[in-house]
């Protein structure tokens, strides 16, 4: 192992290992991109790299209501869920990391339990409850379970971040004559913002990803999200193979993830690792 060795041979060895990881991680993504760019004629030739390139698949999906509507649903539902989960999570995480009150351990325990909760166990009861309350096949009907399962993630990540904030600075600012509001806005908020932002990304990815709730608690285009719409794609006509269209739609919903990962890799890694090992 190269704990002490930093010579060119060690670098080569690590470089090769890096390459293996990168290839392993990217091939399935590149394959979908490749499929989405193939023409209908070459779709089934089995080549990894397209022989004929076209953007028709993208043009096709953006002309269908089915996809555009699902994209709007996905974005709207994920954004609203993220906003609410992060606000509620920030409040709870602040209390957990800063205040002392009975029931704190219980709340942490409950969020841990929910993080482990089998989501499929909620599908039957929620289906019936939402059917009876009129929440079935609506945005709030999906936002509610998303918030619930995003909250443990938000609370854990945020508490871990908040515990690292030097809160004494707030006191110092007040001693220097700042008001409570100023101390919060100028000292604490800028320190807390990165943690909140990272949490928001993780929660958004979680909501963006969901398939089980989305397929069980929706029935029409009114609230179907893209992952579900994908599994209902039939192509331009019933007899046309939807492979190209599905691939193009898949690429479109992968773009935000790629952007997050490219620009915020360090934050996401920090967020995922900080909440994880507190034991």
């Amino acid at each position: 192992m190269a704990t002490l060795d930093t010579g060119p041979r060690a670098k080569l060895k690590w470089g090769l290992l890096d390459a293996v990881v990168v290839v392993f991680a990217l091939i399935p993504v590149l394959w979908v991109v490749s499929l989405s760019l193939k023409t209908t004629a070459t779709l089934t030739d089995g080549n990894f790299i397209p022989r004929e390139w076209t953007l028709d698949n993208y043009r096709l999906i953006f002309q269908t209501d089915q996809f555009v509507r699902a994209l709007i649903n996905s974005i709207g539902i994920a954004l609203i869920s993220t906003l609410i989960a992060v606000v509620l999570g920030t409040m709870a995480a602040y209390a957990i990391s800063r205040l002392d009150f009975p029931g704190k351990a219980l709340l942490v325990g409950v969020s841990l339990l929910i993080a482990m909760f089998p989501q499929v166990s909620l599908v039957s009861p929620l289906f019936n409850i939402e059917r009876q309350t009129g929440l079935f096949d609506t945005w709030p009907g999906l936002i509610l379970p998303y918030i619930t399962f995003a909250l443990p993630l938000a609370i854990y990540t945020l508490s871990a971040f908040f515990k690292q904030i030097p809160w004494d600075l707030e006191k110092a600012a007040k001693m220097d004559g700042a008001t409570q509001a100023e101390a919060f806005r100028k000292v604490i908020a800028p320190l807390a913002a990165p943690g909140v932002f990272t949490t928001a990304i993780l929660v958004f990815i979680f909501c963006w990803n969901d398939f089980l709730f989305a397929i069980s608690l929706t029935s029409t285009e009114q609230s179907r999200t893209v992952p579900v719409a994908l599994s209902f794609f039939t192509g331009a006509s019933q007899f046309e193979d939807p492979t190209g269209a599905i691939s193009a739609a898949a690429v479109v919903i992968t773009i935000p993830i790629i952007l997050f990962v490219l620009f915020f890799q360090k934050r996401i890694v920090a967020g995922l690792t900080s909440g994880a090992v507190k034991g």
Binding site: V32, G46, P102, L107, F211, V269, T273
Partner: protein, 324 residues
């Protein structure tokens, strides 16, 4: 990783908490100053919305699910709704499909988590120790973690579809997704690809706790790379490994998306989540579907319980939060 956020106030409260446990209530009430009471109220107020949502959307439905599971309740025949006690449980537990799905779920869980632990450890070491391109490796590894599972599943499905896919054409001329053994292998492969980076990130957090001096000292004393790994790194990483295993095991047990897209449960590749979903959505049988929900909940609870027993004090929350 102890962070110096423990303010004097917390220490004082810890002391008074210790005192309260020994002495009866009277003393405790006297010790609660106005400031402390305000702090409590603020704490409760801030936590209330999150706690309410979490409990309302999980605790109530799971109890309701238990109530539904005691009834014959088929949405196709709503008039035949009837209270049948545990008859649904008898029906499900004596059903071959349920146990097949249970076996499939266990197989996928055990194999994928075991492989992920090994690969995840390797990936964690690469991400943590690589001399060059650390950012590139970490960025690439995050892509499987972040990508929508359904998208990844479609990628694997098309890769293994005869004539369309680059992998199907490499191998023999069958249709691997239509045979049970190969289909299950592909499902496991898709799971491993998607979640190894998550495992690796959790393990990397543990790896960061291994003191560099200790590794150097061990290597001076003539410990081989393997000895350094098993004798120095693994003991320090044990809590991180258990957390990663717990989360991934429970997550793998819920496998649904990959199976739905890859095989749709054909050729006996359904997981318990798949048949619970099918009973509800295709069978519209709320009674049976709810029974399965409750059984899956119990299975997960048992797995979690076993892990927490293994953890001892290393359980997340218990050592850090529970102490206060």
């Amino acid at each position: 990783m102890s962070v110096s956020s423990t303010t004097p106030a917390t220490t004082a409260e810890e002391l008074s908490e210790g005192g309260r446990r020994e002495l009866p209530q009277k003393r405790a009430k006297a010790a609660l100053s106005e400031g402390k009471r305000q702090e409590r109220r603020l704490g409760w107020l801030l936590c209330a919305p999150a706690a309410l949502v979490m409990v309302a959307v999980t605790a109530y439905p799971i109890l309701y699910s238990f109530w539904l599971s005691l009834q014959r309740y088929d949405l196709k025949f709503p008039s035949e709704r009837e209270f049948v006690w545990f008859a649904n449980y008898a029906t499900v537990l004596s059903n071959g499909y349920w146990w097949t799905a249970f076996g499939v779920t266990l197989l996928i869980t055990v194999v994928s988590v075991a492989v992920e632990l090994v690969l995840g450890m390797a990936l964690a070491l690469v991400m943590h120790r690589t001399l060059i391109g650390r950012g590139l490796v970490r960025t690439s590894a995050l892509i499987p973690y972040g990508i929508v599972t359904v998208v990844a599943a479609f990628s694997w499905r098309y890769a293994w579809t005869p004539s369309t896919g680059y992998l199907a054409n490499l191998l023999s001329d069958g249709a691997p997704l239509t045979e049970r053994a190969s289909a299950l292998s592909i499902i496991i492969l898709a799971e491993i690809w998607k979640t190894t980076p998550f495992m690796a990130l959790l393990l990397m957090a543990g790896l960061a706790l291994v003191p560099e001096d200790l590794l150097k000292a061990a290597s001076m004393d003539g410990a081989s790379a393997w000895q350094r790994f098993t004798r120095v790194m693994l003991p320090v990483m044990k809590p991180a490994i258990l957390v990663a295993l717990l989360f991934r095991t429970l997550d793998a047990f819920r496998v649904f998306d990959n199976i739905y897209v890859l095989t749709n449960g054909a050729n006996e590749t359904s997981s318990v989540s798949m048949i619970a979903y099918n009973n509800l959505m295709k069978g519209l049988n709320l009674g049976i579907g709810s029974t399965m929900s409750v059984l899956i909940f119990l299975a997960v609870a048992i797995i979690a319980f076993v892990f927490v027993k293994l953890f001892g004090t290393a359980a997340p929350g218990s050592s850090d939060e529970g102490r206060r």
